[in-house]
């Protein structure tokens, strides 16, 4: 039986394993965490349909559980990859007929944007922290009170040369709109502001959701970056920004600041480049063989890519790439 090793057990890797199993190909998923699922595990609902993330993940888990010849190795990492062999951090060597790399991305560390005070000031949270609060069903300030004014800042660690992240993380804009609507549903009396550089609503239903946020939920959108965050005497936060549409600086007292942290290239990509002869793009994401005709192929035959390892992608795109990479790998090993 042919055997494909999938590096990364996030949504793209899981989908890839399901598809390969349907093709009668055995797979081994290598996952560094203790459980499969990747970053979607901490997500609450998905844009633009507000579908519970758990519903999507459970469906893929269910298919995977029923799939035959799928071996799952959690708590270990691949350190060297060739089309025929993967060396694990444990020293174990696994032979195979092809490899799919679905290692995804690394979240930008918001502490690097020191001016926003993440980790220093109370009630400065990231978009991921907020999703976890949504999952717990409770969004509260550290004082235990409910927020009355919330600012959501876009592009934290994206399109930012100062932190060497020039690329657009693509999904943060729509995440900001989605989270603003969720917050307004939770706290109808609260003021929710989105501070943005550009609003990039690239997907189906996204633009409609952006309009809905303004028309139905009265979410405010301010075109401008927040320059700094400070504490106030009454335990709130003061933000300074520039409203570039009116051309004026503004200062605002808020209760909570949400930082929409970007996707940066996976920390292990440089190792892949050094140890396995693969190539990184200037953004740090892995370089596919061709941007149009070989999106899920690497420059090395027998090594394939799926999901956000090559660029920021949303859940739907990652799942599609899991399928595409599985089909490409199946075609290659059956040549």
């Amino acid at each position: 039986m042919k055997h494909v090793i999938i590096i990364g057990g996030g949504i793209a890797g899981m989908q890839c394993a399901c598809t390969l199993a349907e093709k009668g190909i055995a797979t081994t998923i290598i996952e560094k965490d203790s459980d499969l699922g990747g970053k979607i595990r901490s997500w609450h609902v998905l844009f633009p349909t507000f579908t519970p993330a758990d519903q999507v993940l459970s469906a893929v888990r269910h298919r995977l559980a029923k799939a035959e010849s799928v071996t799952i190795k959690t708590g270990c990492e691949a350190v060297k990859i060739t089309p025929k062999c993967v060396t694990l951090s444990t020293g174990e060597e696994l032979t195979c007929d092809a490899v799919v790399i679905a290692t995804g991305f690394t979240l930008f560390d918001a502490r690097l944007k020191e001016e926003y005070g993440y980790g220093i000031y109370d009630n400065v949270v990231t978009s991921v922290d907020l999703e976890q609060m949504f999952n717990k069903g409770e969004v509260r300030l550290t004082s235990g009170l409910t927020p009355r004014r919330i600012a959501i800042l876009h592009c934290v660690g994206s399109r930012d040369e100062k932190v060497c992240q020039r690329h657009c993380s693509k999904v943060c804009c729509v995440t900001g709109v989605k989270q603003a609507i969720e917050l307004k549903k939770m706290f109808p009396a609260a003021d929710v502001f989105n501070f943005y550089m550009d609003i990039r609503m690239f997907g189906p239903g996204y633009e409609e959701m952006y309009r809905e946020a303004q028309l139905m939920h009265n979410v405010h959108f301010v075109r401008g970056r927040i320059s700094e965050v400070s504490p106030t005497i009454d335990g709130r936060l003061q933000i300074k920004a520039e409203d570039t549409l009116t051309g004026r600086p503004l200062k605002m007292g808020i209760d909570m600041l949400v930082l929409l942290i970007g996707m940066r290239s996976n920390d292990m990509n440089p190792t892949l480049e050094a140890e396995s002869g693969l190539k990184c793009q200037p953004s740090g994401f892995m370089q596919p063989k061709d941007s149009f005709l070989g999106n899920v192929e690497s420059p090395i035959e027998g090594i394939f890519y799926a999901g956000a390892v090559t660029a920021p992608k949303n859940i739907g795109e990652s799942i599609n790439e899991g399928t595409a990479a599985a089909l490409a790998a199946a075609e290659w090993i059956n040549k």
């Binding site: 502490r111 020191e114 220093i120 000031y121 005497i233």
Partner: protein
């Protein structure tokens, strides 16, 4: 404040053998600060520091006012480094924040554009016949005090604590724009959450006050002040900071930069005259200290030896909180008991007419 980032911004600070470069502003407006810095280093800490009478202004004020060209300031700075080399030192420490920013900027420029260093060497040699070495270590004098802060704490005769309440004194720290905003990694703690002054305050028992306009410029800003028509802008900046910090009721402000010390101190008088507003407790001003003065008080120096009579805002309320014993009648006596003159009373000052000191003329 949950400071977590300052440890990411550490810098090498020489432990001994410093070549000292004075500050134009500090030596004129706060002469006691520079004197006490030298005394603390040499007498209290037993370190070797060379106060060279041959060095000049770095011309930073002219540089930032567009009257001194880049090539000129590079040559002047190269001469300072040549003097350091000739005196047998490798560790350069600068009293002025502007100078520190300039030394940092020029060293970085020479590293990024080596041809500018070559041209500077040529210019210096042609002009003075001197040659220079790049300092092994460049630090601001606050870095040096920060480096020795625990040793100072061990030798301290008092803490930054209100002796009447036992509570830590609440301190506003202001590091000055040119300390770390230009090159954050050259300042202890970086530019967003600097730790150079905060570290001293915490080691000596005080409590740092964070407030909304903490990062804002004091208002000096060279052209803001040097061009008379712009001075309103300078006052407005100090006003913004003072308005922002006042609700936190700080006991004093400690500054890194000589210019900031001067402006946050003296503009309090101006604002009081313009608007009748004072920002300290009991209707007076908020005392503004240099870190050398703060260290000197902790080590038990006499406030008048520290030169604190040169301040616009009276420091006596702070001295009383600290439990410092001082001779009020000696406030305006300079060296050898010579009367140095007394400023007119002002609203930001603490002493009412009936407690005016008896001046020994």
């Amino acid at each position: 404040m949950k400071r977590s980032s300052w440890t990411d911004y550490q810098k090498d600070i020489a432990d001994d053998n410093y070549y000292y470069a004075r500050s134009c502003i500090r030596q004129n407006f706060f002469p006691g600060s520079e004197k006490v810095f030298l005394d603390i280093l040499s007498k209290d800490l037993g370190r070797n520091i060379f106060d060279d009478p041959l060095h000049t202004s770095c011309t930073g004020i002219g540089y930032h006012s567009d009257v001194v060209p880049l090539e000129t300031i590079m040559t002047v700075v190269a001469r300072q480094f040549a003097l350091m080399s000739e005196a047998g030192y490798e560790n350069f420490t600068s009293s002025c924040i502007t100078s520190f920013g300039i030394y940092t900027e020029l060293l970085n420029t020479w590293e990024e554009f080596p041809e500018t260093e070559e041209r500077t060497r040529e210019n210096l040699y042609k002009a003075t016949g001197r040659e220079f070495k790049i300092p092994k270590n460049l630090s601001h004098t606050s870095d040096v005090i920060f480096h020795h802060r625990e040793e100072i704490a061990r030798k301290a005769v008092r803490k930054l604590v209100n002796v009447h309440t036992g509570e830590p004194l609440r301190v506003v720290e202001h590091i000055g724009c040119h300390y770390a905003k230009i090159f954050p990694k050259k300042g202890v703690g970086g530019s967003e959450f600097p730790y150079v002054l905060a570290g001293m305050v915490e080691s000596w028992g005080g409590e740092i006050v964070d407030y909304p306009e903490r990062r804002h410029c004091c208002g000096f800003g060279f052209r803001n002040y040097l061009v008379q028509a712009n001075r309103g802008y300078s006052v407005a900046n100090s006003h913004k900071k003072l308005e922002s910090m006042a609700p936190f009721k700080p006991d004093f402000i400690v500054c890194n930069c000589p210019g900031c010390t001067m402006f946050l101190d003296k503009w309090q008088y101006t604002i009081a005259e313009m608007e009748g507003t004072t920002y300290g407790q009991n209707g007076q001003g908020i005392p503004v200290l240099s870190y050398e003065e703060m260290a000197g008080l902790v080590l038990g120096y006499d406030p008048w030896v520290l030169g604190m009579q040169m301040h616009q805002v009276d420091v006596e309320p702070l001295l009383d909180k600290l439990g410092v014993e001082y001779d009020p009648s000696a406030k305006y006596l300079g060296r050898n008991g010579k009367y140095i003159g007394r400023p007119e009373r002002a609203i930001v000052n603490s002493c009412s007419e009936d407690t005016l000191y008896k001046i020994r003329r």
